[in-house]
């Protein structure tokens, strides 16, 4: 494979051959990884499930567009004003004030993705940066950062967000997302840090230093591409914990009252005492949360299998 890159003439105005090689290198690697991933049964199931949920999320706009009575939050059905079972009119039945459960489920999917992915992105951003800095900079910085990470890891995220909401009142969904991210980065940081530590002494880093590259450039140009696969892998795990924490918060009544999430649905079932009589209301949200968690976990595990041998191969290719 390397012959392909070395034999093609490098144009004069490209920054440097190595960087050029990186970009098409990436596409190749992705396609390579994809073909391995495809064979993994767990990964396939996981991805299928995720696709299903993504479809649900995308479709969440449809019900209320079809008929306003199907709006998850404000849909008022003139004919029904209490909890009913599944019917042709309402596929999964209605909640205690007659709102359609199925459209709530779809809206929940949208919220789950939103919360999960944005929270995971922020915590990956944080975690990767801090991890790289800790692994690359001197021992003192490393020590301080890792102590900080340890302290945060010990804290139970849910309870911290609880106490914060006590102080700051009812929380907006984005604030919740941010707070979850702020407490979930240590896990990523630790892994990225060890990867950075092992990369730090590789010849290509030394070469970059000798050629006068600044530390920042080294970190973002050379180390980041190598730790990126790992970061992306851990993102899948962050997504699941973000979704679960948001669901737990909503369940306890501390979620954003303006958003319909699966956790919120469970809260309604529970608090309005319909737990015992309305299985069609109780079961779907819980099943969805569990399934999406499983889906992300499966995807993550399959990615892990793909990346693991490749990570090692990566270290020799630089």
């Amino acid at each position: 494979m390397s012959e392909k890159f070395f034999s093609s003439p490098t144009p004069e105005n490209t920054p440097c051959p190595a960087a050029n090689r990186h970009r098409s290198h990436w596409v190749e690697r992705f396609l390579d990884g994809w073909s391995v991933y495809r064979k993994n049964t767990i990964g396939r199931i996981g991805l299928t499930l995720l696709g299903l949920f993504a479809l649900m999320a995308a479709a969440s706009f449809i019900p209320q567009w079809v008929n306003p009575i199907y709006h998850p939050m404000t849909g008022v059905d003139p004919l029904i004003s209490h909890s009913t079972g599944p019917s042709l009119r309402h596929w999964l039945g209605t909640d205690y004030i007659g709102r359609d459960i199925f459209s709530q489920l779809l809206a929940g999917a949208r919220v789950a993705f939103m919360v999960g992915i944005s929270s995971a992105l922020v915590s990956i951003l944080f975690g990767t940066t801090i991890g790289m800095v800790a692994g690359y900079a001197g021992r003192r910085t490393d020590l301080v950062l890792m102590r900080l990470a340890d302290m945060i890891m010990v804290m139970p995220t849910l309870l911290v967000v609880l106490i914060l909401s006590a102080l700051f009142g009812q929380l907006n969904i984005w604030v919740i997302v941010l707070m979850i991210a702020l407490f979930r980065w240590p896990g990523v940081a630790r892994v990225i840090r060890s990867q950075t530590l092992s990369l730090r002494h590789r010849p290509f880093i030394e070469a970059a230093r000798v050629s006068g590259a600044s530390h920042l450039r080294i970190i973002f140009r050379h180390i980041l591409p190598n730790v990126m696969p790992l970061a992306l892998l851990y993102m899948t795990f962050r997504v699941t914990s973000a979704i679960i924490i948001e669901a737990a918060l909503a369940f306890l009544g501390f979620g954003d009252p303006g958003t319909v999430s699966w956790g919120m649905m469970l809260q309604w079932v529970w608090k309005t005492g319909h737990m015992f009589q309305a299985p069609y209301w109780l079961l779907p949200p819980g099943i969805c949360i569990s399934l999406i968690t499983m889906a992300f976990y499966m995807t993550g595990r399959a990615m892990d299998d793909v990346l693991d041998p490749r990570l090692r191969k990566e270290e020799t290719q630089a």
Binding site: L162, I163, A166, A248, L252, F276, G286
Partner: protein
């Protein structure tokens, strides 16, 4: 020996961390919108009582002095009066603490034991049907949403089948009865504890099973396993006496790492099952704007988590002779 020094050092670390947490809370309480005084003193108190309380807590003093009062009060256990209960916060929480410890500790120990036991078998029979079954089962249980599982458990076992009580820790009749002996009371508590305990175990044993399984698979590659075989020991002895004790060590570490997750789960479980513990009190106080109680409950939970971490670390050091000696 080294162990005592180790414990001492960790206790100092815990004190530092706790100190930091307290300070952060202090700052947050004052930064948050609204009148900080109304957070400490119940607005519905009589003016005289309010003034007395303010003096004890130093709320009429400049911020720095308040901080010192805050620390002093925390050290002496005076965390204010609960808005809701009207009693000193420390009384309430000390009452709740044993309940949480009981449920929490029992659930962790039992799920760890179950996970180790099943994980050992799964690894031993790797690739066979029972291994696949257990791995999938563990994964399935691990991804269940805890509050939802709790509701399902209540629905099924308490409502439908009626075997267990729906809420609470004790049946009032039993506890008020002067003739009821300790055994009856203990059985009553166990009866109430069964459902929350089962829920917690179901959620947590999965990850311990998976850790034990992969740890066991690694251990089986070690040289001393070959030595054990060469000694003519039978398979069961090799598995249980040689491999499992070594493989169980990472599980202990895993317990320590997932303590925060466990405490989250504990709070949720207590809330759903109305188990009168610290977690439930925290949730309750936050939703009722009972600030003194909320703050104290949080701090107490923080100490419990930190000390639990220490206990797990000491346990690991005790179990692994390479650390002890």
């Amino acid at each position: 020996m080294g162990l005592k020094r180790f414990i001492f050092r960790r206790l100092v670390e815990i004190a530092v961390i706790f100190f930091v947490i307290m300070t952060i809370l202090f700052v947050l309480f004052r930064l948050a919108p609204g009148d900080p005084v109304s957070r400490m003193v119940d607005p519905s108190m009589t003016p005289e009582d309010a003034r007395l309380l303010m003096e004890t807590m130093g709320l009429d003093q400049p911020v720095w002095t308040q901080y010192l009062y805050y620390l002093k009060n925390a050290a002496t256990g005076n965390m204010g009066i609960s808005f809701h209960y009207g009693e000193p916060v420390s009384h309430i929480l000390m009452n709740r603490l044993p309940n949480t410890i009981l449920l929490f500790t029992t659930s962790i120990i039992l799920s760890a034991l179950l996970g180790v036991f099943l994980g050992k078998i799964a690894a031993w029979k790797q690739g066979e049907r029972i291994d696949t079954l257990m791995t999938i089962g563990a994964l399935f249980c691990h991804t269940l949403f805890l509050p939802w599982l709790a509701l399902i458990m209540i629905w099924f076992f308490a409502y439908w089948v009626g075997w267990f009580p729906i809420t609470g820790m004790v049946s009032p009749e039993v506890w008020i009865d002067p003739d009821a002996g300790f055994l009856i009371k203990a059985l009553d508590v166990l009866h109430h504890m069964a459902l929350p305990l089962m829920t917690l175990i179901l959620i947590h044993f999965g990850s311990y099973l998976l850790v034990m399984r992969s740890s066991m698979l690694e251990t089986l590659k070690d040289d001393y396993i070959l030595t054990a075989r060469a000694k003519g020991l039978d398979e069961k002895t090799i598995r249980d006496h040689h491999a499992a004790p070594n493989a169980a060590l990472p599980v202990v570490t895993s317990v320590g790492l997932s303590l925060a997750f466990s405490i989250n789960g504990g709070a949720l479980t207590e809330t759903v099952f109305t188990w009168p513990g610290l977690g439930r009190e925290l949730v309750f106080s936050v939703s009722h704007a009972d600030y003194p109680l909320a703050q104290a409950a949080f701090l107490l939970i923080a100490i419990v988590v930190l000390l639990a971490n220490l206990v797990v670390d000491v346990l690991y050091a005790y179990l692994d002779p390479r650390i002890r000696y």
